[in-house]
Symmetry: C2
Subunit: 413 residues, 2 copies
């Protein structure tokens, strides 16, 4: 058989995606598989079983990152493909899971065709990409790349006060391997687009050239906690007034930066949270994204100015705390070309695009040549139980991944 005609088994890939999605399944057809939960543990066990059935060895490092390896004719370096199995609290079936299971499908396809590669292949499940339970996101690929320290991450707590390190141990995934230092020649990550562009242009697959920069902030507005009835409005220091004014100014500043700027307030909480008490404080989060660092700087400055305005006008205190900064990333042209070639081999039209979402590949790109492949998402919806990519799109993405990895790994037999 001409190797250019090699294709993955789309039905096997789809059936595994659906089986995995039963773990943490939500009534509305989504998935709640928060990192280090019991559901995360069950998802990991299923993945490990499939890897062993495909003849791979599975190792775990001290952050719970899982490495499944298929040997090559040479001992190293490996061609890697990884993503994540954790989800948002009301997430979908495809975000992360597709990348991990498509890499597994590549291995099974090579096994079925009796192909030995020159270089080994490794599949990675990165712990806590989502950052929904423990912030920040892309946590364990970040530790792998030396951006965060293991001990600091272990001390991170969720909203209930549980420590990351304790929870990792509880689910049995605090592994023995040190974090980092594996020998990789290239890394590919297949992922759903989570945006509307590919669907609008009727393309199954996209070639990703880089990732937007992301900055996370926690904003705390503090006033005076007083009874809702007797205190006249003009004698209050009401943090909710600071909130609405600051939000209005932030949305305005974001719009002024044009179509690539993204401003998201994902969490808002008034404290102590009682109907008949003016809150003592309001806390909210900002997720800011843009492909250019200069624009990120301008927007951050605009948000800080908005905080100062709102604080002055409403006589409250506002603290804007930047807790994370992930600069924009550009992937290397050689790997982008591998993906474009693979899409051509499979006969897919594609386009180049920048990822609006952060991915583990952002950090992996610091330690090895990295790129990504996108699969079209229905209505661009993600981080939502309605998230959907068709069996055809998932299969198309896996085929592009197969040929891009094969070009990098080489064929020995």
């Amino acid at each position: 058989m001409d190797r250019k005609n090699l294709r993955v088994n789309g039905e096997r890939l789809w059936s595994r995606l659906m089986e995995l999605a039963q773990i943490g399944a939500t009534p509305k057809g989504g998935v709640c598989r928060l990192t280090l939960s019991d559901e995360d543990r069950l998802g990991r066990e299923l993945f490990a079983r499939w890897c062993r059935e495909a003849g791979m060895t599975v190792e775990v490092d001290a952050m719970g990152n899982m490495f499944a390896r298929r040997p090559g004719r040479k001992s190293g370096p490996a061609v890697m493909s990884g993503s994540h199995l954790d989800s948002q609290p009301t997430g979908g079936k495809f975000d992360g899971a597709l990348g991990v299971l498509a890499a597994l499908e590549v291995v099974d396809t090579l096994n079925d065709a009796g192909i030995e590669t020159e270089y080994p292949i490794e599949i990675v499940n990165w712990t806590n990409e989502e950052g929904a339970r423990f912030a920040p996101a892309m946590m364990s690929s970040g530790v792998y790349a030396g951006v965060f320290k293991t001990e600091d991450i272990y001390a991170t707590t969720d909203h209930k006060g549980c420590r990351f390190g304790d929870e990792l141990e509880r689910i049995g995934y605090k592994g023995d391997l040190p974090v980092g230092g594996r020998d990789w020649k290239a890394s590919f990550e297949l992922h759903i687009e989570q945006g509307p562009i590919l669907e609008a242009e009727n393309l199954p697959v996209g070639v990703v050239t880089g990732v937007q920069g992301i900055r996370w902030f926690t904003v705390t507005i503090t006033g005076d906690e007083v009874h809702a009835g007797p205190t006249p409005m003009d004698k209050r220091r009401d943090p909710v007034r600071g909130l609405h004014q600051m939000l209005a100014l932030c949305y305005e500043a974001t719009a002024a930066e044009g179509e690539w700027a993204r401003f998201t307030v994902g969490e808002i909480n008034a404290l102590p949270g009682s109907r008949n008490t003016v809150p003592g404080s309001v806390r909210f989060t900002i997720d800011l994204r843009h492909p250019e660092d200069a624009a990120l700087d301008r927007l951050e400055n605009a948000y800080r100015a908005a905080a100062e305005d709102a604080a002055r006008v409403h006589n409250v205190d506002i603290v804007v705390d930047r807790i994370w900064n992930s600069p924009p990333v550009a992937f290397p042209e050689e790997l982008i070309a591998s993906v474009a070639n693979a899409a051509e081999t499979c006969g897919f039209k594609t386009r180049r695009l920048v990822s609006g979402a952060g991915h583990d590949s952002v950090y992996v790109s610091r330690v090895c040549p990295t790129t990504m492949i996108f699969v079209t998402s229905k209505d661009g919806i993600s981080h939502n139980e309605a998230e959907y990519s068709s069996p055809e799109a998932c299969e198309a993405g896996a085929n592009v991944l197969l040929h891009a990895m094969l070009e990098q790994a080489g064929v020995a037999n």
Copy 2:
């Protein structure tokens, strides 16, 4: 002794206030004694012990309301004084507790002076005045007055899903007495002002002529839950945009109604609550107050119009649900005069004022002649750990309560 010279023991009253405040004491000097919590149970047990030590009988009805009785020469009707022992989550030492313990101090003062009254005296601890854990507020005085049904209230749940009925049983205060129907000729409630008026005019005590009307709303803004990165701003249905616009319009409408209007947003929550997800919905509460029903109607209409505007402009859905309506109350002139006379007997200057806060007396006023006495609050602060009324102010209020009750109860010996 001329009975006009009779005075309470201010030190005993203060020492009991401080002892009670140890139950649920917070690090910042406040109290967290949420209704039907273990702390509420301990507070009730201490109060019951003091009542029995003062020679009173203590009974409990099916809502957990506690009735302590001192007999009179006649068998009835009784002169009642009641308030509540539950608190806000970060509340103060005086809100509610002062009214209950001052009534107890009146009984102890009569005991010390060997005075028998013509009519019996009853002290009531009303269950769940605050409404912080289970909404609405003034819950059990409301059941007593026939405004709510016991079975409906039992089914009410807190944020954790615990049922009111189960929690009442758990703390051992689901009593045998039917709710309502006791024989009372008058009711007085001593309470801290929770506002800045008396302090500004340097008056220890105020004569309360009525209570502002209160309406509670729950507002739910629904959009689409999508990933924070890839979705362009103009393609989102972001409930946070609906939030900031609706809030701005509501504050504006409230200001236009003048100094007596009060608009409070005590709870705000974005759902599902993840930093890198545009929330699918935002839920917040409104507490609206004004002394006139016509103004309340105008404000409610303005808030509903604000919701419609914000929903249309930002392409989200907004539902405004009114969950409680407590109309303005005017107390009877005869009892107001009793309080004014009592203050004169004690040599205090006073003024008349309308309560901005709701109190159990609002519902009690539907079943017996009722009025209230206010004590000055430092900086007008309440529903806050910094809430403070001085020993002198508490003693002054208790003395006015003593003489007002004595005028209604009459002296037999």
